[in-house]
Amino acid sequence: MAVKKTDLAVSIGDWKLKNPIMTASGTFGYGEEFADYLDVDSLGAIVVKGISLLPRTGNPPPRVVETSCGMLNAIGLENVGLERFISEKIPIFEKYKTGVVANILGDSIDDYCRLAERLSDTSITAIEVNISCPNVKKGGVAFGTDPKMAYDITRAVRKKCSKPLIIKLTPNVTDITAIALAAEEGGADAVSLINTLLGMAIDIKSRRPKLANVVGGLSGPAIKPIALRMVWQVCNKVTIPVIGIGGISRVEDVLEFLLAGATAVQIGTANLVDPNVAGELVVKLTAYLQENKIENIGQLIGSLEV
């Protein structure tokens, strides 16, 4: 019998990804930084550094600190701003033979809408909305911590966005499924989760926080069990595709998220440690399917038996 080709392709709305391995925003630069280490085109998609209307300088240093099996970051969403993003970065992306997702952030629903509208006119493949940001109008409570705000922002952005729309959820909530359902109802094509968990570290010598911003976002293997639980809970509630994120560094991790129901995964902190890891995961995932005679990756997704 002829060996059948293994099919790793997955879909988010009309958008077809050649495989489910994506990179997570803020951990893969604009892709070019990684060109020496892997073939960016081999990935399912890349999500680039979060972008705001105007450039942001971000938080003062120190901005990163290591924790047990994890790290805290308080980069403060440093980015070049929408205009330079379009003029300088998008031409780079146009050379890639894979999907490029813009991650957007703002202080108000209006910010997000303008970003989505403007980016819809570019060659960007899809838009991911980071709703972990504080809503300035609501006293700085993050959009993503309230189902109503999550619904409102999704619905508003949806109207301006002609690209596949991904809503990225924060884990710092009592019930993430409520937020995911709100995003689905608001018209999202997919949800991605989790963003970082809020954490802190203290330098006992100076008696000061280790991050200038005092608190920061926890990421890395330490948070994987929490991320996996949330992905599984959300997959049991929504019908749109779910993108799993959080502490993924090995092919076993990828498989755990797929089994829990994730259509795709994003690799975050692991890129910072092993810049070739995302490329390796594509190779290893392919090998896993072949060794286990799984012709189509769809057979894995959501196949957890509970």
């Binding site: 003062p60 240093p61 901005r63 047990s68 994890g70 980069i75 440093e78 293997p221 902190t269 810049p275």
Partner: protein
């Protein structure tokens, strides 16, 4: 795992030698032909210190390239926390996972005299720099000024004596060897030439100040916390003098070596 394209690579190198130079300072020699071929003085590598199958410590540690020889690189490091402690426990024959060469190193241009000023572990990148200057500019004068807390903390000085026509001057805080005082006091008030400096902030600040006064070009090598070392995380921010217009500089990409006049020291 190796993506050898004559540029930055991730590779596993065999430890050819690892030895304790002093109480808590170690030199490690790693076989890595690609990195040794491409490295520039002042560049660094990111070293994984966790043992295989362990996710902790998670992040790599940045270490300057101390010396480059026949397909090997050597690193000189001080045990200050758990990462360096783990690295010190590696043994000859073990393999170590490194990224490199990373960052922008020292720029060497024609000069009457090259002053290499190191304080504490700031000595690490200077040997490679001195050897490179000697190789590329055999006729120019090289002066090495080294500061340390005490004789015990002063390691890896021998390497400099092995270089042809290099002058080495030493200062210690406690006077246990060399000049009793600060390394900055070793720089002649009428010195002419280029200064390359690596050490603690107060020392670099003082050196940069002297250079401004004496109108000497000065390059400094900066340390910050780093997560990736390759420009992806933006964790290594530092203010340049043009901060208001252009935002933060990033030590792992824009540095670690900067012209002193471009940085707020």
């Amino acid at each position: 795992m190796t993506v050898d394209n004559e540029k930055q690579i991730r590779a596993v190198g065999e430890i050819k030698d690892i030895r304790c130079c002093s109480r808590d300072i170690f030199e490690i020699v790693i076989a890595q032909s690609s990195i040794s071929r491409n490295a520039q003085p002042g560049q660094f590598v990111m070293v994984k210190t966790a043992v295989d199958k362990s996710d902790d410590p998670l992040l790599r540690r940045p270490l300057s390239i101390h010396q480059v020889q026949h397909g090997v690189i050597s690193l000189l490091f001080k045990v200050v926390g758990r990462g360096t402690k783990l690295l010190a426990s590696f043994k000859q024959g073990d393999y170590v996972d490194i990224l490199g060469p990373l960052g922008k190193g020292f720029a060497v241009e024609q000069q009457t005299t090259h002053f290499l000023i190191g304080g504490g572990m700031g000595i690490a990148p200077l040997l490679f720099l001195a050897e490179t200057i000697r190789l590329e500019r055999p006729a120019e004068k090289i002066v090495i000024l080294l500061g340390a807390r005490s004789r015990e903390e002063l390691v890896a000085v021998d390497g400099f004596f092995a270089i042809n026509g290099v002058e080495v001057k030493i200062a210690t805080d406690d006077g246990s060897t060399g000049h009793h005082g600060l390394v900055t006091e070793l720089l002649p008030g009428d010195a002419v030439g280029a200064v390359y400096c690596c050490g603690p902030w107060p020392m670099m600040k003082a050196v940069a100040g002297l250079c401004r006064k004496q109108e000497m070009e000065c390059q400094v090598s900066i340390e910050t916390m780093m997560a990736c070392g390759m420009g992806a995380c933006l964790g290594c921010a530092v203010q340049g003098v043009d901060f208001i217009e252009n935002g933060y500089l990033h030590v792992c990409k824009d540095g670690p070596v900067f012209e002193a006049r471009k940085i707020w020291l």
